[in-house]
Amino acid sequence: MTVEKLKEAVRKILPEVDVVIGYRQGFDPLHATPFFMTKPEQVDQLIWNPLCVQNLCSYLPFLKGKVGVIVKGCDSRAIVQYMQEKLIARENVKVIGVPCLRVISVKKVMAAINQQSVQEVTFEGENILVKTPEGQKTIPLADVAPRKCATCQLATPLQYDLLAGDAIQSNKPQDTFEETKEFEKLPLKERRAYWEKEFDRCIRCYACRNVCPMCICQDKCIAESRDPHWTSQRANVTEKSMFHMIHGLHLAGRCISCEECERVCPMDIPVAKIKKKISMDLKELFNYEAGMNPDDTPPLYTFKIEEATIKEHEL
């Protein structure tokens, strides 16, 4: 799949919609940035490579009119989840699917190049080549991909009106939640100390909340409301933990594991871990995975009279 095929797809869809959301080069060679195209000449700036990490579906519930959007496999789950929750009118969205095997994590690349300034980035085969003042470094993409890419089953998006390229298979192992299970083996005190240390860094910038495709309350988020008064303006661990609990619990059964929340945290807090734990539990309890089938109902929106997996707890 070349970027030319993608540009062709965008040019095809552009006359039918008000805007097409894609990616263009960002402020430095290591960053792509969302790109809102309304005119054909803008399509020349479109890029497609492992730098294209942002989940562009987050914009959809807030845009009026007809919108075209470029989605990777992980992003497409957002479209499906929106369909389950009726947050978008599917007929007003033109989805351009792009086959994708992995993207990069900017944080991991920066760590691999010792936080040097990036002068040039190229992709060769399964590697990313990064040029810094210290020289050129060749890094296997698999080493600097985010957690989600290692077990991604959606090399081809679930939903698309146009596929820019050929459908491909993922051939990756299923997610067995190893990281979550390893963490659960730690002593209780250590788990609590871990989260208190991580949450202490939080500055409640709400980048994680605003980038989340499923967080659509935005203005009305209870983490900021004065009435009812869920959290105060005090900058202590209690308030910060409360915000993260609100965010995690409101995503229970809805989180599509795009891990955008963790990508954008300026303080490197592993916020996606909590959502993964909840996703793991809900898969076990209700055999449910968010964003897979438009006809599904999120598990906490419904019930069964007899729940085979929930046993009454004894004291």
Partner: protein, 347 residues
Amino acid sequence: MAETGFLPKEKLPALLDALSKKFQVFAPVFEGDVVLFKRFASGVELCLTRPANLPPKGIIFPQSETLFNVNFKKDPEDLKKTSVELKENLDFAPTIIFGGRPCDAQGFRIYDRVYLETDIADPYYKGRREKTTIVTLACNAPSPGCFCTSVGRGPAENEGSDLMMTELEKGYFFEPITEKGKEILKEGGFEDGSAYKEQAQKAHEKVSALVKKPFATLEGTPEKLLSLFDNNQFWEGETAKCISCGACTYLCPTCYCFNITDEQAGNTGERIRSWDACMFSHFTLEASSHNPRQNKHQRLKNRVGHKFSYYPKKYKGVIACCGCGRCIRYCPVSVDISEIVAHAQGA
């Protein structure tokens, strides 16, 4: 006493130890891959190789501070009478911010005009500011996204700092900018720095040339931005990808907006001042429920306007952006304020 000082690298921990006895010293330390300003403690690994994720603004302008505590007391003789006891906290300890960058120190100068150089100075800001000494480390390389030289600053700009240090091969060259800075040089361990002054100067010039320049000049930009105020199409185009979080404002060394809230439970309470962000959708939400900046293009236009137009017009042309690049680096969608300004210049 020498005018300038030189400290061999191995003597730096001892200097900080000595200073910690008289001041509360904040220095950039590693926490995983994140660099944060924390209270210095012996043996902690300092990070002097790159700017902290969060600038040290919270040391003088805390993210959340109690302005006063409130206690309602009922008169036991006459239960209808309630007295109110207010307890302010204006006790601030002598502090050193060690190892910030020139752009971080610039932020405090931006705050000074707003919080101090007015008819009523902010006592909380003033109290902390007067007790704080800022020891700044000149940059020896630009950071991704930074552009200080384009906004009238530089990687060794000393405005806002009390003492400027430059990393050289075997140690650090220290140059005092104010009396407070001279006081630090009285500590033990410093050699005479005069032999190193030229070296430091050359280092500064070398880095200056490496800093990216997104625009040639800002001459006329405040007026140009104002002229684009009603151009909704321009602003909507520039701001379409913004997600209205507060990462840029909270991480910005020059952002100073705040919110005041009362938190009360029963008979006690406190009035808290906390950081606010003009990027939040409810920043301008009024009690009547009218919101003058309901749309994100209005809010981002305000942020760019504040830094490059309104503040300079009010304060003799000083640009309220220090060019540190944090907003660009940490923005979830890489909104680039320098690019927006460059586009505005050409619009």
